[in-house]
């Protein structure tokens, strides 16, 4: 590691940023693949089924006990799924609007992955901050990018040139715009309390003053439910709603293009989970353990911080998945009603009350 000393600061910046991007990208992709597995497994278990338990690569025969156990858990299923998506026939119906049909999956995935850039997924590793871009307007960046995600779905519905995808995309654009507002409003009290838009600062604040979820439970509930709506997960998966719209916006898609939509959905879930961990659950910190609530000095503790962060994130992911198999889909008018008539007023009141409290306490 000595040679790093001789590099200029900007070169180091580029080098470490690239490293972090690759690492985060790899981790997110893997997490997406295994989130699908967890989804399948959890759904199976909730429904008294077994779930995927067959995929076994050739080398598994050499592992005596652990091998069959891993196979039963379906650990290798994501590889088979990925391979299948790659090898399936990529069918483009001849009536679609080709350009939009092709770029829509990409537009869905890119914002989902870009959101992860500002998440501080650890304290420091050596001297390097464990965040790709330490923006002082981090949360606004996230909202900006997330709001672009809707284009993928809208264009998929438009490009498919078919009625069910179109209905799905119309629903989704309305739904996502509606829920961005309460979501954005729900986080304002956080910044009022923490006094910064920088996500690192917010974690630091929580390490010192306790988790935000305790101080802002209303904001947390609104954010959580809005996150479900933003990621098109049940009970708000009206853009897909298999029972009425066949498959919604991705009805006409197949093969890798379809896979990209799923990738986008799960990447969004991961990003939302990460945001909730950061904003409400203390990020990489753990209360009552001093070593884990202050920026690390050693590599080991740094890695532990990352582990804590991912563990919290995984819990939220499981919540996302669990809710999907627990609740039925909302009706569209109910969805809109909750968004506009419940959450927006609630978030507004929350802002006002928090602002008053903060103002009086400061005085």
């Amino acid at each position: 590691m000595e040679f790093l000393q001789y590099l200029s600061p900007s070169t180091q910046f580029v080098l470490f940023s690239a490293l972090k991007i690759f690492a985060v990208f790899g981790v997110v992709m893997t997490a997406v693949a295994y989130a699908v597995l967890v989804e399948r497994k959890v759904s199976a278990w909730i429904q008294n089924r077994v779930g995927p338990n067959r995929t076994a690569p050739f080398f598994i025969n050499y592992l005596p006990v652990i091998g069959p156990f891993l196979v039963r858990l379906g650990i290798f299923q994501p590889m088979a799924d990925g391979l299948k998506f790659l090898l399936k026939e990529d069918f483009t119906p001849n009536y679609v609007r080709k350009v939009y049909f092709w770029i829509a999956p990409a537009i869905t995935v890119i914002p989902a992955l870009m959101t992860v850039a500002v998440i501080p997924f650890g304290s420091t590793l050596g001297t390097e901050k464990m965040v790709i871009a330490d923006l002082n307007v981090g949360i606004l960046y996230t909202f900006g990018i997330v709001s672009l995600g809707v284009y993928g779905i809208v264009l998929a519905g438009y490009g498919s040139n078919s009625k069910y995808p179109f209905l799905g995309s119309i629903r989704s654009s309305a739904q996502m715009i509606s829920y961005e507002i309460p979501m954005g409003m729900s986080v304002i009290p956080i910044f009022l309390v923490a006094g910064s838009l920088n996500l690192g600062d917010i974690i630091r604040y929580q390490a010192e003053h306790g988790w935000m979820i305790l101080k802002q439970p209303v904001a947390f509930v609104i954010f959580l439910i809005a996150a479900f709506a933003e990621t098109n997960r049940l009970p708000f998966d009206l853009p897909e709603s298999e029972s009425e719209l066949v498959g919604g916006y991705h009805t006409e898609y197949s093969s890798m293009k379809l896979a990209l939509f799923f990738l986008g959905e799960y990447a969004n879930m991961i990003a939302s989970s990460a945001m909730m961990v950061t904003l409400f659950c203390g990020g990489w910190t753990l209360p009552f353990v001093t070593a884990l609530s202050t920026p690390s000095s050693s590599i080991l503790i740094g890695l532990l911080h990352i582990g804590v962060f991912f563990a919290k994130m995984a819990l939220f992911m499981i919540l996302f998945i669990w809710v999907r198999w627990m609740l039925p889909r909302f009706r569209y008018d109910q969805l809109m009603d909750i968004g506009w008539r419940r959450f927006i007023p609630a978030a507004l009141i929350n802002i006002v009350v928090t602002a008053l409290v903060v103002a009086f306490l400061h005085d």
Partner: protein, 171 residues
Amino acid sequence: MPQFTDILFFGLAGLVLLFGFLTVANPFSRNPVTSAMFLVLTIVSLAGLYVLLHAFFLAAVQVLVYAGAVMVLFLFVIMLLDLKEEEHRRLKSGILAVGSLAVVAFVGILLATLLKAKPAASAVAGRLVEGDTAKLGTLLFENWLLPFEILSVLLLVAMVGVILLTKKDLK
């Protein structure tokens, strides 16, 4: 790295112009959805320019509000209205003349302003270095509170007007 930012600036500025042109006069497609999409690209490129100016807040808000919300509603409306490809309109000489006049006038005013502007005019931007939201807030709510409030009242009036216009049966 001044050269690098310069390259970025000219690249982004070029993109803004290109996408802007494609928004209004796309030689390849007369599809309104395509125009809207190029407008989104224009807005995103513009946000890139803001980032170059270190106005991160503005950049984020630009993307969030215009690209993320306003343009989605535009698309929504275009799709719901089921607009077909625009028909080729014949340009009438009168309209063409008025249009050209407007362009010339606008460019003229712009050039005049730019020529008059002194480098020191970017002092405000200098104060907002690193896109500090706190400073922006102070500026907005202390120096220009009245215009800000007037603007918000104006928007409220517009909203009320829209509700009045769309309401079918008024008592």
